[in-house]
């Protein structure tokens, strides 16, 4: 019996588990700003996209599952879970599975840095902005690997296009937020939101906002930059040969990325959680995020696709130049001493 005295009793273990499960940190990580929120938001965005696109095209969209089809994403998810996972005969199955896992991990990773209220953020890191960009810069390699591992021509071409597109638009995106970094002198996303209490950054950084928004569209592979999965030429792009759960993960990852990008635009340019106080702060963040996402969706419904070489050239020359002009504007702003508005 003596040797058992050092061990915790069952009661203690249960208590410990209960304490962990009900702790604020655990709830944050698993439920609200954390995993479940991101997943459900992404699912909600698929529904939103289908509804909005249907309205644009004078259709009705999902209708039967739940109230006006809001449970449709869940029904789709359950359906896909029971589908057969088919891989083409020449494919590299192990690498594909690994890439699906990696894609999921990558897609969910940036969401930890998004602040949902004063002090209401999972990871309040000093390098939050760069962290988000660093994680986003890992997507092209995973997608290229999926295209490669599928060993089929459409996914491979889609993967290559995706790679070049994301690579070409990453630099304008980085440089377009440099103005904000200069104005606030920090990379901490919470502090960036706090700096916008008086005036949102969309006003002084309107050029940066335009560049960031365009680059975000390209990074998300959405119309007018949806070349990697141009339905009429490349079927489904790099997702062509995915099926069952891997397809679901690829799909979910894309919408998670949409959510993260919209939330990032909200945080950086649209004041994050700031807004009239009659609505709680996290609700403001979600509202703005979904608003930005629906603007992106409406753009999908109304613009044609551009050609690949034009796309790449525009990315390098025009957007880069605009981002540099934005930096000069910011330098002028600071030099004239107007930056007191955003200094904390």
């Amino acid at each position: 019996m003596t040797c058992l005295q050092g061990l915790p009793t069952l009661q203690e273990i249960v208590n410990l588990v209960l304490r962990i499960i009900t702790s604020r940190t655990f709830l944050e990580v698993v439920f609200f700003p954390g995993f479940l929120n991101v997943m459900l938001s992404a699912a909600f965005l698929t529904w939103l996209e289908r509804k909005v696109i249907a309205r644009v095209q004078l259709r009705i969209g999902p209708l039967y599952a739940g109230i006006s089809g809001i449970l449709q994403p869940i029904a789709d998810g359950v359906k896909l879970m029971f589908k057969e996972t088919i891989f083409p005969e020449l494919a590299d199955t192990k690498l594909l599975m690994l890439c699906a896992l990696g894609l999921m991990l990558l897609a969910f990773a940036p969401a930890v840095a998004i602040p949902f209220g004063e002090g209401f953020v999972i990871a309040n890191m000093d390098v939050g902005l760069v962290y988000v960009f660093a994680v986003l810069s890992l997507f092209p390699s995973v997608i290229l690997l999926i295209g490669w591992a599928s060993n089929s021509k459409y996914p491979f071409l889609g993967g290559l296009r995706s790679l070049f597109q994301q690579v070409a638009y990453e630099i304008p995106m980085w440089l377009s937020v440099l103005g904000i970094v200069m104005l606030t002198g920090t990379l901490n996303l919470t502090k960036i939101v706090e700096a916008q209490q008086r005036l949102w950054f969309v006003v002084p950084q309107v050029l940066g906002f335009a560049v960031f928004f365009t680059a975000a569209l390209a990074e998300l592979e959405r119309t007018p930059f949806d070349l990697p999965e141009a339905e009429t030429e490349l079927v489904m792009g790099w997702m062509t040969e995915l099926s069952g759960v891997p397809f679901m993960i690829g799909f979910l990852a894309m919408y998670t990325k949409l959510y993260v990008m919209s939330a990032l635009i909200t945080t950086l340019f649209l004041g994050g959680w700031s807004g009239p106080g009659f609505v709680p702060q996290p609700v403001w963040v979600l509202l703005k995020t979904f608003l930005v996402a629906s603007v992106i969706v409406v753009i999908r419904g109304s613009f044609p696709r551009v050609r690949v070489d034009i796309l790449l050239k525009t990315g390098w020359t025009r957007l880069l130049l605009l981002a540099l002009v934005n930096i000069l504007v910011t330098v002028a702003l600071i030099s004239f001493g107007l930056d007191w508005v955003w200094r904390i």
């Binding site: 690498l95 690994l98 890191m125 000093d126 390098v127 760069v130 962290y131 960009f133 660093a134 994680v135 810069s137 890992l138 092209p140 390699s141 290229l144 690997l145 490669w148 790679l163 690579v167 002198g185 920090t186 990379l187």
Partner: protein, 174 residues
């Protein structure tokens, strides 16, 4: 707790580094290299250099590994087999011997010079603003030289690719 983290990270770094060199497919090797570099970024975070870790991830894993993957995909024979004529044996054993000697020598020398169990001082992170200020003031010359290096890379890389394209187009290479 940090001990487990350190051991996991160093295990990741070492194992995936070996995998990078020994994997049969070159593509797997590149994936191994990516994991190794991510592990090094994790070590940087453990050492308090968060910004450096992000720099490492975005430049190494986000850019260099992508370029490596792309090059590997370009460097193939028509048959689809990766060009690789490995010849393990004498050379491999010699490599292990040399590498082991060098690693032992380096580790031994450094550990002899540095106090064995030097404790880390208290550290609460460095304000990132200081970093930029310091970088530009004390390392200005290095910065300008880096600018020249970057310029040389642009010119060199583009010229190489241009030459390559012209050769390919004229049919001289095939």
């Amino acid at each position: 707790m940090p001990d487990i983290v350190f051991l996991t990270l160093s295990g990741l770094v070492i194992v995936s580094a070996i995998f990078a060199l020994e994997a049969r497919e070159l593509i797997y090797g590149a994936v191994g290299l990516a994991f190794s570099l991510i592990g090094v970024a994790g070590l940087f975070i453990l050492l308090g250099a968060e910004y450096l870790a992000m720099f490492q991830v975005s430049v190494y894993v986000g850019a260099v590994v992508v370029l490596i993957l792309f090059t590997i995909m370009l460097v193939r024979r028509e048959s689809g087999r990766i060009v690789e004529e490995e010849e393990p044996g004498r050379l491999g054993r010699a490599g292990i011997l040399v590498a082991g000697l060098v690693a032992l020598a380096v580790a031994g020398a450094v550990i002899l010079v540095v106090p064995m169990s030097l404790e880390a001082p208290e550290f609460h992170g460095i304000p990132l603003r200081e970093l930029g200020r310091y970088l530009a003031s004390s390392y200005a010359v290095a910065l300008v030289i880096l600018g020249i290096l970057i310029g040389a890379t642009v010119v060199g890389g583009l010229t190489l690719v241009k030459v390559e394209r012209e050769e390919t187009n004229s049919g001289a290479a095939q």
